[in-house]
């Protein structure tokens, strides 16, 4: 073990970690916003509403994230119409391609989590809302969605960790995230063990942080579900 290499390059690794955090936070926010309509549509009883979200979720959960990243980054450039569109300056940047792929991916997983939660809400609560004369929109806004959000907190925490780990794939399209930075450093220093293990430790620390934050949110959000005597 050569600790000097670790000390010398640790700031660079942290720089990479910052890119990783950016990727996860930006795609996490956009992805979760996309997931709400997809999950709601998937929850519908009508076949023509739920068919499309079903296919979307099935595709993004059934194929490797690596394929999805390559499809966005390399695949889109096959079409001249994409190359001529005004979005091309963004679509040729690996950074935005990674964000797009992560958003699509996490929105599918999150939508499925949301659907599960919506399905798990006791029927009585839906009936009670209807009896009180609530319309569908009001019922979802006031009762069902807030209930579902409370239920998905633990599962969503897991999804964020999966996304954090998935973000390492950004390094395959030349992004200098934590993994990409580690590979670049190793190409210069030939010290794979030291640098990869340090990167692993940083990933571990970030995972711990996510777990810790979500435990806190869960306690706050689900306070009312606790037994009274505890």
């Amino acid at each position: 073990m050569d600790f000097d290499v670790i000390i010398q390059y640790f700031p660079r690794l942290l720089e990479g970690a910052w890119t990783t955090i950016q990727l996860v936070v930006v795609s996490g926010i956009i992805g979760s916003l996309m997931a709400v309509p997809i999950g709601l549509a998937r929850h519908s009883d009508k076949l023509w509403i739920k068919a499309l979200p079903y296919a979307y979720i099935f595709f993004f959960r059934g194929t490797p994230l690596l394929v999805q990243i390559f499809l966005v980054y390399y695949g889109l450039s096959q079409f001249d119409s994409v190359k001529e569109s005004i979005l091309w300056p963004y679509l040729r940047e690996p950074y935005w391609c990674a964000i797009i792929a992560f958003c699509l991916n996490t929105s599918a997983y999150t939508a499925e989590i949301l659907r599960g939660a919506l399905g798990a809400i006791p029927k009585g609560e839906v009936e009670a809302s209807k009896v009180l004369g609530m319309g569908k929109a009001l019922m979802y806004r006031r009762i069902l969605l807030p209930r579902a959000f409370g239920m998905i907190v633990p599962a969503y925490g897991n999804e964020i960790i999966l996304m954090l780990k998935g973000s390492a794939l950004a390094s395959t399209i030349t992004i200098l995230d934590l993994t990409g930075m580690a590979r670049t450093i190793i190409a210069r220093t030939y010290t794979p063990i030291e640098i990869f293990l340090s990167a692993g430790l940083i990933y571990l620390a970030m995972s711990m942080l996510v777990i810790w934050v979500f435990r806190f949110i869960e306690r706050r959000h689900n306070e009312y579900l606790k037994p009274i005597d505890s």
């Binding site: 194929t63 394929v67 390399y74 889109l76 096959q78 079409f79 390094s171 590979r183």
Partner: protein, 229 residues
Amino acid sequence: MIDLRGFGPQLWEGTLMTLELAMVSLLVGLVFGLLGASAKLSGSQLARLIANTYTTVLRGIPELLTVLIIYFGATTVLMSTASLFGYEEYIEISPFIAGVIALSLAFGAYATEVFRGAIIAIPKGQSEAGMVLGMGRFRVFFRLILPQVWRLALPGLGNLFLVLLKDTALVSVVGLEDIMRKSTVAVGFTKEPFLFYMTAAFIYLTLTIISMVGIHYLEKRANRGLVRS
């Protein structure tokens, strides 16, 4: 079969490679999982500490990083070990071996939790009954606990296998000739990235569907002795 600009047979070979990697990693990973679960449930504090560290680390770092550490790290470790014995040639482990080690370690870490949950779910009275009948601890484990663990762990293991199947794509990064790698080669020749990566996506989807059907069949078979209430 579909020709795909002449690359159809190549992609088929890649599919077989992906399947081979997934199956071998599954078998080795199941062993890791069982060992991990036994360690976590054992009385030995050291075993529990090792198992906890194993699952925390392997579940906390990206699978891609695990693959890279094993592939590049193992070479370094093997070479420095070999040089102690005076062997100075260049040693390299194959991407396949590195892939199996990395994926089975990751699979095993998650499987540890699945097996642990399944073992805990079996009522304690059963192992006590076994002990009373004079069975040793190993016999109780292999005759009473393990056959039931299979049934209880199957849904969790099925999900993990689907994750494993998708994670095999990561090993293409270190050069394994799997679906992804073959597609990339085809893209290099034909300059049609969308066509080939979409094909790869549909091959993975097909494998996922086949696995889901297989898992469903296994679950039905495992539960055939139970009456649905």
